[in-house]
């Protein structure tokens, strides 16, 4: 009976996939985030724009509950990450910047492991793994070892991995770092279609300007502070600039930053 009541309370129609409100975080003396607020609506593509060291990874660590936020609130579909971590993490998919696949194991073995981490097993798990591989166009490589994949293909498997439990919110931490132009396009197309077709909320962290399209929303993070949050046109207007690139330069005061191909 309790379970049924809880399910009724689940905010299925709430449009906020992610809400971050007044979050600050510091490591010792150094403040990594200062009073950061942002939201990701369901069915929206939000670019978290910032240079290296702006605090993007710290924010991701807090949202994924690697460590707890000491101030402010973070909630995923209305579930507070700190108070109800299970409910929040069940609705969250993450693509980390670093590789998370076992290179000696096959694609299927990797995905089945990650399905198990969400409590899925047996026929259902295998069907989901195949389905996820199909969505990223790698079903024919299901039994290949991860070692044999190209960088772009491995990224697509990482995305397939993050979709197994059908999350409503997807976080991606610099997902195109180290990829060539063709692979980057492929990854972007897949993620954008998730937003359009399935109403997923996406938070895409990057320092590459040319990954932004006109319909996206931008959150500009600089030295731990949110400098701007809103539409792309508003971003350009706010900086009194002609395009996103000059607007970014003006706001962060960094002359040569964030041009295409500026990879780590």
């Amino acid at each position: 009976m309790n379970v049924a009541a809880m399910q009724l309370k689940t905010p299925t129609l709430q449009s906020d996939a992610l809400v971050v409100k007044g979050v600050s975080h510091s490591f010792g003396e150094r403040a990594a985030l200062k009073d950061v607020s942002l939201e990701v609506l369901r069915g929206s593509f939000v670019v978290l724009l910032g240079l290296n060291g702006a605090g993007k990874s710290t924010l991701f660590s807090l949202i994924t509950r690697l460590y707890d936020n000491v101030s402010g609130e973070i909630s995923i579909l209305g579930h507070d990450v700190r108070r109800r971590p299970t409910a929040a993490l069940q609705r969250l998919g993450v693509v980390f910047q670093s590789r998370t696949l076992d290179s000696d194991l096959s694609l299927m073995q990797n995905l089945e492991y990650h399905a198990a981490l969400h409590g899925l097993s047996g026929r259902d798990a295998r069907a989901r793994c195949r389905n996820a591989l199909e969505r990223v166009g790698l079903l024919d490589r299901a039994d290949a070892k991860v070692r044999a994949l190209s960088g772009g293909q491995a990224r697509r498997v990482e995305i397939a991995r993050s979709l197994l439990h059908r999350p409503t919110l997807l976080l991606l931490d610099e997902p195109t770092v180290g990829l060539d132009i063709g692979s980057r396009e492929g990854v972007m197309t897949i993620v954008r279609s998730l937003v359009e077709r399935e109403g997923m909320g996406v938070l895409w962290a990057t320092h590459l300007i040319d990954e932004i399209t006109a319909t996206d929303r931008i959150v500009l993070l600089h030295q731990g502070v949110v400098l701007y949050s809103g539409s792309v046109s508003g971003f350009i207007a706010a900086a009194a600039a002609d395009d996103v690139r000059t607007a970014f330069r003006k706001m962060t005061g960094s002359p040569g930053a964030a041009v295409n191909g500026d990879m780590e």
Binding site: S15, R42, H118, A125
Partner: protein, 306 residues
């Protein structure tokens, strides 16, 4: 915060159904974590080989030479004079568990650097459950290695001394094989203790390179200052100080627990120490990985920072 209408125009589907998190979910998660450890181990042939060769070198070379030097008197659980090879086998099995635990701690530091640890921790199951599953996965791999070692040792005429186990319907597990079964619980709890210690260490070690330090400051002292190679009474004769150190070393009790296990007996004091240390190390590891209190958040790792 400005909010545009564009996002709301998208048709909002009902939230997709969530995966089960009940008992079957826990079971699936546990099985998945253990299976991954085993699969990874089976794919690393060099690791398997070195894990097997190390104790065999000790057994075939060290023990064969030492046999003439060191007489082992009759101490429990032995009821007659035993060859040095027989005496040292439980210590070498302990060594397998020890090396394996430290190696899995190494792989956790590595996982932490690559992000595999983060995908584990982003699972919706309680973190303590995830970490314990990971430890048990390591124990499964270690026990696999221990039994392969014992299998080879069997042909070197090293047999456990447990009496036959009677089964229903008049069946029985005969003498040398019964010991392989009675030692299994001892291997399991010992593996959990060492795995928990290694897990705690993995949260404290900052970088992969520090593993050489782990070898020098953890594995070797733990192994040599224990009852693995010599009986404690012999150590007491030559150095009372070393004897006291051995008695404070939890690895001594791992070895004794395994030694008695081979003879179908339980050394209750050793069992109590091993279980006590398991609880202690496990609590420390879970504390270290706790998101609000733990050491990770304070330092900014794994892979975290700005």
């Amino acid at each position: 915060m400005t909010s545009t209408a564009t996002a709301n125009d998208v048709l909002l589907k009902a939230e997709p159904p969530l995966a089960a998190i009940g008992f079957s979910g826990y079971l699936a998660c546990f099985r998945g974590i253990v299976w991954r450890e085993v699969l990874r181990f089976l794919h690393q042939r060099e690791r398997f080989l070195s894990a097997l060769v190390r104790p065999l070198v000790w057994l075939f070379i060290f023990a064969a030479g030492f046999r003439q030097v060191l007489g082992v008197s009759i101490i429990p659980p032995y009821q007659s004079y035993v060859l040095y090879e027989t005496f040292v086998t439980p210590g070498l099995v302990g060594m397998i568990l020890l090396f394996n635990a430290m190696q899995s701690s190494l792989s956790m530091v590595y996982d932490r650097e690559t992000g595999a640890m983060r995908t584990l921790l982003v699972s919706p199951f309680p973190r303590s459950f995830l970490l314990l599953s990971k430890i048990i996965g390591g124990v499964a791999v270690a026990m696999l290695q221990a039994y392969v070692f014992l299998f080879v040792a069997y042909f070197w005429e090293i047999e456990p001394g447990a009496p036959a186990i009677a089964l229903p319907f008049g069946l029985a597990i005969p003498h040398p094989f019964a010991g392989y079964i009675t030692v299994a619980p001892a291997l399991f709890v010992s593996g959990v203790m060492l795995g928990a210690l290694a897990l705690f260490m993995s949260s404290v070690i900052k970088q992969l390179e520090n593993f050489a330090g782990v070898m020098n400051f953890v594995i070797f002292p733990m192994f040599f200052a224990s009852s693995a190679l010599y009986p404690l009474w012999r150590i007491k004769e030559s150095s009372p100080l070393l004897y006291e150190i051995c008695r404070l070393n939890p690895f001594t009790y791992v070895v004794e627990l395994i030694r008695f296990g081979f003879y179908g007996q339980i050394d209750w004091f050793s069992l109590a120490v091993v279980i006590g240390c398991s609880v202690l190390f496990l609590s420390a590891a879970i504390y270290a990985y706790n998101p609000s209190k733990g050491l990770i958040g304070r330092r900014g790792g794994p892979g975290g920072g700005a």
